[in-house]
Amino acid sequence: MVKFSGAWLKSRLKFLKNMHCPDQANCFKILQLMLDNEADEAQKAQFEWQIKNCMPCYKMYRLDAAIKEVLQTKIEVKSVPGDLVDTIKLKIKNAV
């Protein structure tokens, strides 16, 4: 039986954590479900494991969450023109 040193295993683990997610397509699906609050309990558990053990997934999730947040907070919300509601009501009244 081949034995690996602790240092070697540690270095491999570090490499995998930083460089590549072995199941990227599936991970991205879970990350998106979490981001959009659509994940079920099993997917939430998988997500927790992923972000602790996979640096690319963790980075991607943080970026996606940051983008979602800036979309929600920094995009200008337009005010409804003052006469719009009255115009709609008038048109409906005339149509009835």
Binding site: Q24, A25, F28, K29, Q32, D36, E38, R62, L63, D64, A66, I67, K68, E69, V70, L71, Q72, K74, I75, E76, V77, K78, V80, P81, L84, V85, T87, I88, K91, I92, A95, V96
Partner: protein, 192 residues
């Protein structure tokens, strides 16, 4: 929405439904319309059309159900059927190619971006808005519905009349495209 039962509201009930269930969503409706058309006057016309249609078909709406999703679906359809036709914009790409790309449920496509969280957080509203507005309308729409309006995948599927799997894959692609745009802005503006 296809399985909705037809109601038989009195005139008073119709007015109540309109006032209590439809009008409270006018802010979201106007902003959605503006983000589709980019023009205040067009957005106003689109919202007016939507509310007039909603009133005309009010018997198709069941009180206490999801009025916002129902209205958004009408607005989206009005935009596609009326406004996009009026603008007579030439098709930029082959439709069949786009159709198969949009409607594939495959989300294997991956992206590796070096866009940094801090860079995104430092962007101003105009940069984020421009990046979003630069997306094709179908990709822009899923981001607006999900991230700005907070609709669930199920609601989005009904509004857009597509399967939930397609919602997920379109959203995934839309976000990748948005990242590309944000990265482009970051490079242009000299963000690190």
């Amino acid at each position: 929405m296809a399985d909705m039962r037809i109601q038989d509201y009195s005139k008073k009930q119709k007015e109540e439904v309109f006032e209590q269930e439809f009008l409270p969503h006018i802010n979201s409706m106007y902003n959605f319309a503006y983000r589709l058309t980019f023009e205040e006057d067009d957005a106003k016309d689109l919202v007016q059309d939507t509310y007039l249609k909603a009133f005309r078909f009010i018997d198709s709406f069941e009180r206490g159900t999801n009025a916002k999703a129902w209205l958004f679906r009408i607005l989206k359809n009005s935009f596609i059927n009326d406004f996009r036709k009026k603008s007579k914009q030439p098709a930029k790409v082959d439709y069949n190619e786009v159709e198969s790309y949009y409607n594939s449920e495959d989300v294997d496509e991956t992206i590796t971006t070096d866009l940094r969280v801090e860079t995104v957080q430092h962007m101003i509203g105009d940069e984020v808005t421009n990046a979003l507005n630069a997306l094709d309308v179908d990709f822009r729409t899923v981001i607006i519905l999900c991230d700005l309006e907070g609709f669930t995948y199920e609601e989005m599927a009904k509004i857009l009349n597509i399967p939930i799997g397609t919602v997920r894959s379109r959203l995934h692609r839309a976000r990748n495209l948005l990242k590309d745009r944000l990265k482009l802005y970051a490079n242009t503006m000299g963000y690190k």
